[in-house]
């Protein structure tokens, strides 16, 4: 559904652009290809490495680590696991629901989801290419710290 919108919009805009100015459109497409090619090797590297990590971590293992009675220790572990894994959202949320059924706590899950989305250890080399070292470390570090606040609030409100 989202992809249909994205593709229709892109095709429509390329057509309009082409009707208005052929050379500019060509320029745009060349730019698109160049930047895609530029990040492709790193992206393939990330995808393959993540495949290994996910294969080793299954829901039962994660649930055991971040169970409802695991307290702040579980929250810290959950935050670390969330930071190193990189799971597409439509896999992550159903997985989180399974984790919940397997006994994971809300607070721990809050930390897991939060770092999963905001902190990306695997994508850091790529982020550094765009944002430099200092900004990248700051963003990931702050996101990691703030995830504990998210966990705390979710634990209080939902748990």
């Amino acid at each position: 559904m989202q992809n249909t919108i994205l593709y229709s919009l892109t095709i429509l805009l390329v057509l309009i652009s082409f009707l208005k100015d052929k050379t500019k459109t060509k320029q745009a497409l060349i730019k698109a290809w160049k930047s895609f090619e530029n990040i492709l090797p790193q992206m393939l590297g990330i995808i393959a490495s993540v495949g290994i990590i996910i294969a080793l971590l299954n829901p039962e293992v994660i649930s055991k680590i971040i169970g409802g009675s695991s307290g702040w220790f579980g929250v810290i572990l959950a935050a670390i696991v969330g930071s190193v894994t990189l799971i597409p959202g439509f896999v992550a949320f159903p997985t989180a629901a399974i984790l919940l059924q397997n006994g994971a706590g809300y607070m721990q899950l809050g930390a897991f989801i939060s770092t999963l989305m905001m902190v990306g250890i695997m994508t850091m080399p790529m982020e550094i290419k765009f944002f430099g070292k200092k900004s990248t470390f700051l963003r990931n570090g702050l996101a990691f710290i703030f995830s504990f606040l998210v966990a705390f609030v979710i634990g209080k409100v939902v748990g």
Binding site: T25, Q27, M43, P94, L138
Partner: protein, 176 residues
């Protein structure tokens, strides 16, 4: 040789997956499955994003972007950064090239950081997913607490970097 170096991580990881497959078929297959899935996601989402970026780059004048999201764009710039990031598709690494083009077009640094934050945590399609998987109480609590956090992270990073460091980041963007 240069091509091999560029793909070194990928080649290395692929070898490990191959070894994992030999060691334990189940784990190997699971890894291959995840790779295939992520690859499909990447190939579905990224090409249109890059084409839209290419079009933005050639068609939208810098002045327009500066006016809406530049140094003096104020609250409007913040709102636009939130909306664009939340409406985005694809994983966080798709946001970095977007940030680079926005930098080239003179978008304010805090707005770029807000865009990255929104892209990572307040994406609308993902929110709907969260709503159905973890329930409204969880999803809304997380959303409400994350919005101020995204803004805070953006401002803390911006305050921590001096003018020269921000300029260097913008110079990196010119390469893309």
């Amino acid at each position: 040789m240069k091509a091999i170096k560029k793909y070194l991580v990928f080649i290395f990881a692929s070898i490990i997956i191959g070894l994992a497959f030999l060691w334990n078929k189940e784990i190997g297959l699971k890894a291959i499955d995840t790779v295939r899935f992520s690859f499909k996601e990447m190939m579905m989402v990224l090409p249109p994003i890059f084409i839209l970026l290419g079009l933005l780059d050639v068609w939208v004048p810098k002045d327009t972007m500066v006016k809406f999201m530049g140094e003096d764009s104020g609250l409007l710039g913040v709102l636009l950064a939130f909306l664009l990031g939340s409406a985005a598709a694809g994983p966080l690494y798709g946001a970095f090239p977007v940030a680079a083009v926005f930098m080239k077009k003179g978008v304010k640094f805090t707005n770029i950081l807000i865009l990255i934050g929104a892209w990572s945590t307040t994406k609308i399609p993902m929110f709907l997913f969260e709503l159905t998987s973890l329930g409204p109480k969880f999803a809304f609590t997380r959303l409400l607490i994350n919005i101020p956090i995204i803004i805070m992270i953006a401002f803390i990073i911006n305050k921590s970097l001096n003018e020269k460091e921000v300029k260097e980041i913008y110079a990196l963007a010119e390469k893309f």
